[in-house]
Symmetry: D2
């Protein structure tokens, strides 16, 4: 597969597109990012790296970190995890609080905020130093210690966390948060504040393309059965209420963040990351969605 | 892959399971079916047929017919179809009417009843004899004319169609149903009343495993791009509000019906059908779900 | 009480108000009405009639007819009625279908469309000629046979009844509609199409101010206990999702219609009707609300 | 009116009723109350006091305190209050968080928890010592300083306040809470923990029956226009999602609390309090509802 040729073609086409998206502004720090940033990085199991643009520049991975948190929690807790968080798509945009009320404090899936907060609660219960342990886990995936959080983003998120506090309190009322709310929130924001580049994310997500093994040394980090399940959850729940649209247009499991990043995985083939900060109305990177749609169209390959 | 060995192993294991599901009873005709019926039929692209049990006995395919209707409508209307029906999972069990109201009469996806009714409305607009044309389409897929409807099921459904009439009227109020409501409903019920065996369904769904080509003569019936999209919709929306669970446990696109049938597709590999009438609380065949989970566990292969 | 002086003062004040409301346009016939029409008519138990403007001109009473239908059904069925329709305010604007689904086809109250349709179903069950019987009932209340329906409005509503058909089918699915749907709808639309003047409505609603007795001959038409209950339902449910606002500003039980009419009752004192076609965003006559607020402010009397 | 005779008749009838209600148990302190407690106290404007049973025993007034808080906030802020909290009935039991989300953090009315929390936020903004000032206000209404809070109830509620914290955080995210969340919650719980007897509550609520004047010295504490509005809000919103039922059966404005108390007001006539801890499924005192229904039935008088 001539991946570099395809990426270059995507880069060329994208440069002429009128980007109508808007950079996330709910926290001041995210709003400061340069809207023109654009990078793509594909890491192929068999043939190495392909990329263009700002692929080595770090950005705020935000909700993409929920995949790492889920993976770690599945390793620690096994299937019991899914008694505290479901795996169904969230369906409608108005839903977080509504569904939590109907469904007795059990979040729909681990990638909506409520679900990721439950995952963080589990990590707080199971780990002595959850913040460090999660960063160590990512360091191992990427084979680099040069990954950390953005302190300004962390502080900025902290000041705008009333909705997450609302979710935490509601789930606490239902008994689905076991630890101190402040500590759980602190871990959650810490994870959202991690910064990584397209290249680093593609390296990290290689375990999901490679059946749970690190590509660089073939160590089995996650059992292949769990990897399948994580990919399945990314497929059905990775894009807020646009999961169906992403599946329909792109046809790969993936996860987006409001920092403008999207990672997608073709199991057995590659992991790929795009970064472009302006978001569409559903909160996913507009050019990111388009680039990945072009990728599976031009390669003629998706999981379907 | 030793498919027959795997199927036999599934058959053995299932025979010892205490089936807690319940046969669909919302219409009297469906309630009459023998709960002990059980059949499985896998049609492999490369190596032919594998099966056990009642795999050649016809049953009411019910909502599985929505895949054929969607395919035909996509061939007739192209992407304009998706201005009248979305491709997002429906999310919550209480939703049909609620979401239609919020979202101005645009159904969430073509596999919930509201969406399938819009698809039928399109077929009524575009075809002179939609009932015959749809049967002809299925005949071509299966390479057999021995497929028709069950007249008793048809009459029984007709008498219990107030919810669908409610949906049709609501969408008509929003302008998203163009034809006479009775005619659209008549086509919809006709499609639900089609009877096919596991073997016939696996043959018919081979186009979704084979990139849109009939396996028996390699004729391209559906463009491969459309097949991908149909598979993607099956993946995210094929199992009511249990789509995430099916994706998580089985990892294949598929579609279920309240007659107890489930068809699943592994693109490039096979189409497989299971039939066992007792349904779990979410309306999907209990043993069918389990058999397919075993299939992808024992083969070690899924799309993820 | 110097009612005429107060009414004249209201008339003067209203003439200088910039009416921002909009005439109902969901059916063409209603949209034709002259937006400048304005009439008010107060019928006092002790001291006769006070009025201004177009108080003797007939208009489409629309939902005001639901009070007559409820009264008749309560006389025929007694408290069993309230097993098929509740008496709680409907709360939110998106609700009719939502709440019907949650609450198994039992409408929130007899003044939302779903509830009035159940009331009509009861009238169809209990009466041989429900259309005539209802008109006869109104004739008796007003002591005049000069009240009928507007045939154009009837035909126009009939063509725009998909939402009501949707409600009827949903409730039929739940078993809460017993008769043929078309017949129930026909009666419902017939009642909505009745035309009355402010004067006639105030005369008719006198039974609710006079403990169930006709003022002109003191015949007890409705038991006083039932009158209290009807007044209570008007108080909590008479103004769609603006019942609280009306209660807060006006402080009287009442009922509005999208034809621009509002009738209110001060038990033991008077019945009063205002008519001004432009509606506020919640569907109630803008100047009607204001006039009645002025009435209870200037008289210094309300039920509170 | 022979009130004492009527009250005695109610007492006799109630003693033979099989009470199916359940004492509130969401906080341990409330669950400790003796379920057999029963008292009623009617304070008539013209003719003094009538009572039976435990009418002088103090109990936890809980949500009844929301009427005092609202009154004080209306005196401090005027109609601007109603830009931050609406006056519509809340409609459905699942609603608090749902409606706050739809309606941008504006609670439906001041008697649901969210609305009372906004009222408390206003009191915190406007008063130096809101806790003391509110108690002083009640002392003045009752003409007694012998009213305070139950410290055990206060501590117990504090430990079970996650739902209220959830509401506060959500409204803070929408900008409708201005002060520190902990301080607002502290005031709210303080008010819920006030203890009063039936006699004291009937004395205090006399201002709502007496047009805003203290009966004991005719001092105008609240303008009569505001009293009308408070009565109107009690009428439409005073009983959670059973406001319609109370209005229908009793026909008076009133307010209930989960401590088992209900106060009702007949403007111009009397204020009456009943206390019986077991609650019906909607959270209102079962015997309290019944006693008040009997009161308006036997007197033949209500506001309707």
């Amino acid at each position: 597969m001539e991946y570099q040729k395809i990426l270059t073609s995507i880069q060329n086409e994208i440069s002429s597109i009128d980007n109508t998206g808007k950079v996330a502004s709910y926290i001041p720090e995210l709003a400061k990012v340069d809207a023109a940033k654009l990078g793509m990085h594909l890491h192929c199991i068999n043939s190495g790296h392909y990329h263009f643009g700002d692929n080595t520049e770090k950005f705020s991975i935000q909700s993409i970190s929920k995949v790492f948190a889920l993976t770690k929690a599945m390793l620690l807790l096994g299937d019991d995890l899914f008694e505290r968080v479901d795996v169904e798509p969230s369906g409608d945009p108005f839903n977080s609080l509504v569904q939590l009320e109907y469904e007795n404090g059990i979040p729909r899936n681990p990638f909506i905020n409520a679900g990721a907060l439950v995952v963080c609660d589990i990590l707080v219960s199971k780990l002595e130093n959850p913040k460090n342990d999660l960063l160590d886990f990512i360091h191992k995936l990427v084979n680099s210690k040069n990954i950390g959080i953005n302190r300004n983003v962390f502080e900025s998120e902290k000041k705008h966390s009333h909705r997450n506090m609302s979710l935490l309190n509601l789930m606490k009322a239902f008994g689905n948060i076991k630890n101190n709310i402040e500590i759980v929130l602190d871990l959650y924001i810490h994870l959202c504040s991690i910064e990584m580049s397209c290249e680093e994310l593609s390296k990290a997500f290689m375990i999901y393309a490679n059946g749970g093994k690190l590509l660089y040394n073939q160590e089995q980090i996650v059992p292949s059965r769990k990897v399948k399940r994580i990919n399945a959850i990314m497929q059905t729940c990775g894009f807020y209420d646009e999961a169906g649209e992403f599946s329909f247009r792109v046809g790969l499991p993936g996860k987006s963040g409001v920092g403008g990043g999207i990672v997608a995985v073709h199991p057995g083939q590659y992991a790929v990351t795009v970064w472009s900060p302006p978001l569409n109305p559903k909160g996913n990177s507009e050019l990111g969605m388009y680039s990945l749609e072009q990728l599976t169209t031009l390669t003629g390959l998706s999981i379907f």
